[in-house]
C-alpha cells in the first residue's frame, strides 16, 4: 500500500508538473513567437510615447551586430504607427506595422498565420495583412480595399489606400483584432521617415539567457533601449510566476494526499501488528528501537517505491513529450487564450530530483505519527489485543 502510494504519488507529481509546464511553455513560446520575440530594440523614448519621431537613429549597425551574435537566431526591423483603418462599411483604431516580409517570417512566423489569401502576394501594390476579427469587424475579404490613416513625421494627416492580401488567424487578440501589417517600404514612404525603423526584434537559440543577452546588446548600443521578453511583457513573467505558484500548490495538495495515505497505511500496519509490537516491547525491545523500526519500514518502502514511481513518471512525461497531449476538442477555447491545442509535457532533471526528495520527505514525516502511536502502546494491553 505504501509502495503503491509512493508510485502513484511520484507519477502524479511528475505528470501534473509536466502537464502544467507544457501549458506555461506553450503560452510563453506562443507569445514570444508571435508578439514579443526574445528581445527588442527601440529608441529610449519610443516605448513611453509611441511617437513616430522616436525611430532608432542608426539601426543598421545593430542589425549587423545581431547578425554576428551566435545566440541570435533571426532578426527583423519594423516601423510602427498608430492610426485608423477604414473600409467602406466601418472604421477602427489599429496598430500599423511596417515589416520586411522575409525577415518577419523568420522571426514571428507571420506567414504561418495567414488563413485566407497570401502572405504579401497576389496584390500588385500596397498589400496589407489584417486579423480575422478585424476583417470581420470591417466586413472586408481578401482583395478588399481599406484605407489607413495616420500622422506622418511632420504631424500631417496622411492616408494610404491598401488592399487586403491575407487574413491572419491568430490566438493573440492584438494580432487578430487590432493590427495591420504592411510593407515597411510602403509605410516609411507615407510616414516620410526614409529608411529608418522604430523597432528591431530578434529571436534567440534554445537555452539562451535572454536577459543577459539583452544586457550585452545594451552595453554595445547605449543610446537605444534593449529589452528582453520579460521586460517587454511583465504579464508573461507574472504568468510564469503564477503557474509556478499553482504548481507548488498542486504539489502540496498531492503531497498531503500522499501523506494521509501513508499515515493511514502505516497506522493499519501498526494496528495489525499490535500484538507483535507488544510482544517485542515485553521481551525487552526499547521503545526507541520500535519507533525506528516503523520509521525505517516506511523509508524502506519509500526507497523501493520512489524509483518505480520516478520511472513510470519519466516514461509518461517522455512519451507524452514526444507524442503530445491532443486537446483539439478544446482547441477553440485554448487558442483563444493563447495556448496550443497540442501540449508537450516536459520536466527538467532537477524537477525529478525535487519530486523524489519531496515524496521521500513526506513519507518520512508521515511515518512519525504511526511510529509514535506504536511506542505509546502498553505491552500488557497490546499483548491482550485480539
Amino acid at each position: 500500500m505504501v509502495m503503491g502510494a509512493m508510485v502513484i504519488g511520484i507519477w502524479a507529481l511528475a505528470f501534473a508538473g509536466g502537464f502544467m509546464q507544457s501549458f506555461l511553455t506553450s503560452y510563453i513560446q506562443s507569445a514570444i513567437k508571435h508578439e514579443t520575440s526574445n528581445g527588442q530594440v527601440h529608441h529610449p523614448a519610443f516605448t513611453q510615447d509611441y511617437d513616430i519621431q522616436y525611430y532608432i537613429k542608426d539601426y543598421k549597425p545593430i542589425l549587423a551586430f545581431l547578425a554576428q551574435t551566435k545566440a541570435v537566431e533571426s532578426v527583423t526591423s519594423r516601423s510602427l504607427v498608430n492610426g485608423m483603418i477604414s473600409s467602406s462599411r466601418q472604421a477602427t483604431g489599429v496598430k500599423i506595422i511596417g515589416v520586411d516580409p522575409e525577415a518577419e517570417a523568420k522571426v514571428t512566423g507571420l506567414n504561418t498565420l495567414v488563413g485566407e489569401g497570401a502572405y504579401f502576394a497576389g496584390i500588385s501594390s500596397n498589400p496589407v495583412l489584417i486579423g480575422d476579427k478585424l476583417a470581420e469587424k470591417l466586413k472586408v475579404n481578401v482583395k478588399s480595399k481599406v484605407v489607413l490613416t495616420f500622422q506622418d513625421l511632420e504631424g500631417n494627416i496622411t492616408a494610404g489606400r491598401f488592399r487586403v492580401a491575407g487574413i491572419l488567424n491568430a490566438s493573440s487578440v492584438s494580432i487578430s483584432e487590432s493590427s495591420a501589417y504592411v510593407l515597411k517600404s510602403d509605410l516609411n514612404r507615407l510616414l516620410n521617415i526614409g529608411d529608418n525603423v522604430h523597432e528591431i526584434a530578434y529571436t534567440t537559440t534554445t537555452g539562451t539567457d535572454d536577459e543577459a543577452l539583452a544586457r550585452k546588446i545594451q552595453s554595445n548600443f547605449k543610446n537605444d533601449k534593449v529589452e528582453s521578453w520579460e521586460e517587454i511583457s511583465p504579464a508573461l513573467v507574472f504568468m510564469e510566476q503564477m503557474m509556478a505558484s499553482m504548481l507548488k500548490i498542486l504539489i502540496v495538495i498531492i503531497m498531503s494526499a500522499l501523506a494521509f495515505g501513508i499515515v493511514n497505511t502505516m497506522l493499519m500496519a501498526v494496528l495489525e501488528r499490535i500484538r507483535e509490537l507488544g510482544m517485542l516491547m515485553a521481551l525487552g525491545m526499547e521503545r526507541s528501537k520500535v519507533f525506528l523500526m516503523i520509521m525505517f519500514e516506511t523509508i524502506y518502502l519509500s526507497t523501493v517505491g520512489g524509483p518505480v514511481g520516478l520511472m513510470v513518471g519519466f516514461a509518461t512525461v517522455s512519451y507524452l513529450g514526444k507524442t503530445g497531449i491532443d486537446l483539439t476538442d478544446y482547441s477553440e477555447g485554448l487558442e483563444a487564450i493563447g495556448y496550443n491545442s497540442i501540449l508537450y509535457p516536459t520536466l527538467q532533471p532537477m524537477d525529478y530530483f525535487q519530486i523524489v526528495i519531496g515524496v521521500v520527505l513526506t513519507a518520512f514525516l508521515a511515518s512519525i505519527y504511526p511510529a509514535w502511536k506504536a511506542i505509546k502502546l502498553k505491552p500488557i494491553d497490546a499483548l491482550h489485543t485480539v
Binding site: 500484538r275 507483535e276 510482544m279 517485542l280 516491547m281 515485553a282 521481551l283 525487552g284 525491545m285 526499547e286 521503545r287 528501537k289 505491552p379 500488557i380 499483548l383
Partner: protein
C-alpha cells in the same frame, strides 16, 4: 536455593470501570530458584495479573515485587524494559512469534536485542532448538509450524536470553493433549537439567500434575500453596 521472586503484600486494583476491581488482594509469594511452579485457579482469579506484575509488565497498586533482590515495583518504563530483557523470559498463550522470521531467527532475535555476537546467537539458538526437538524446523517460518512446535520455539526463545526465570501464561491453552504433554516434558527437562525456573499459570489438570509446586488463587489471594517432590 535462593529466592528469585519476592512479592510482598501486593495488591492490584483496576479503575477501568465505574466500580474499582481488585484483581490481586494483599498477596505475598516467594519463588525459589529452580522451581517449577503452577499458578492455578478459576478464570478471573488474578493469575494473569499476578504473572504480569511478577514479570514487570504491570505494576502493583500496593506492595512490593523484588526480582533477584531488585525492587521492580516502582521502576521507570525504560528501566523495566531493560530489566525484562536481562532477567525474564516470556512464553505467551498465543505463541507470539514474529511471523516474518524463521524459527531460528525468532530464537536469535532476543539475543540480538542483548547485542550478543552472531556466532553465539546462532550456536545457542540451534542448541536450544535441538533441546526442544525442533532443530529440523530451524529455517521454517511460524506459519508452517504446528501449534505445539510454535510453542516449543517460544520456550526456546524464552530460554535464549538466559533469564533468571521464565513466566508462561497458559502456555498449553491452545495445544492438543499430545502437544501439551510433549511441551511439558521438555519444560520439565529444562527445569531439571538447566535449573531453569518456570512460573506458569494454568487451569489444565495435566499441567498441574507435572508441576512441583501449585499455588492456588481465588479472588486475587492465595488460598493454597502446595509443594510436591
Amino acid at each position: 536455593m535462593s529466592t528469585i521472586i519476592k512479592a510482598t503484600r501486593v495488591s492490584k486494583t483496576y479503575h477501568k470501570t465505574t466500580v474499582p476491581v481488585r484483581a490481586i488482594n494483599n498477596l505475598s509469594l516467594n519463588i525459589e530458584e529452580g522451581e517449577f511452579t503452577a499458578i492455578v485457579g478459576p478464570s478471573g482469579c488474578g493469575k494473569t495479573t499476578l504473572l504480569n506484575i511478577l514479570g514487570g509488565l504491570d505494576q502493583p497498586t500496593e506492595g512490593k515485587v523484588e526480582v533477584a533482590g531488585t525492587d521492580i515495583s516502582n521502576m521507570k518504563d525504560s528501566e523495566l524494559i531493560a530489566f525484562r530483557l536481562r532477567n525474564i523470559g516470556f512464553v505467551f498463550q498465543a505463541y507470539n512469534l514474529i511471523p516474518v522470521l524463521t524459527a531460528l531467527e525468532n530464537v536469535e532475535f532476543i539475543m540480538l536485542l542483548q547485542k550478543r555476537d552472531r556466532k553465539e546467537r546462532h550456536d545457542r539458538a540451534m542448541e536450544l532448538l535441538g533441546q526442544m526437538d525442533i532443530a529440523d524446523k530451524a529455517n521454517v517460518k511460524p506459519s508452517q509450524l504446528s501449534g505445539g512446535q510454535q510453542q516449543r520455539v517460544a520456550v526456546a526463545r524464552a530460554l535464549a536470553s538466559k533469564p533468571r526465570f521464565i513466566l508462561a501464561d497458559e502456555p498449553t491453552a491452545n495445544l492438543d493433549s499430545t502437544s501439551t504433554s510433549n511441551l511439558l516434558d521438555l519444560m520439565a527437562k529444562m527445569n531439571r537439567e538447566q535449573k531453569a525456573t518456570f512460573v506458569f499459570s494454568t487451569h489444565d489438570q495435566r499441567v498441574m500434575d507435572k508441576a512441583r509446586r501449585i499455588v492456588t488463587l481465588q479472588d486475587g489471594a492465595i488460598v493454597s500453596d502446595v509443594k510436591r517432590q
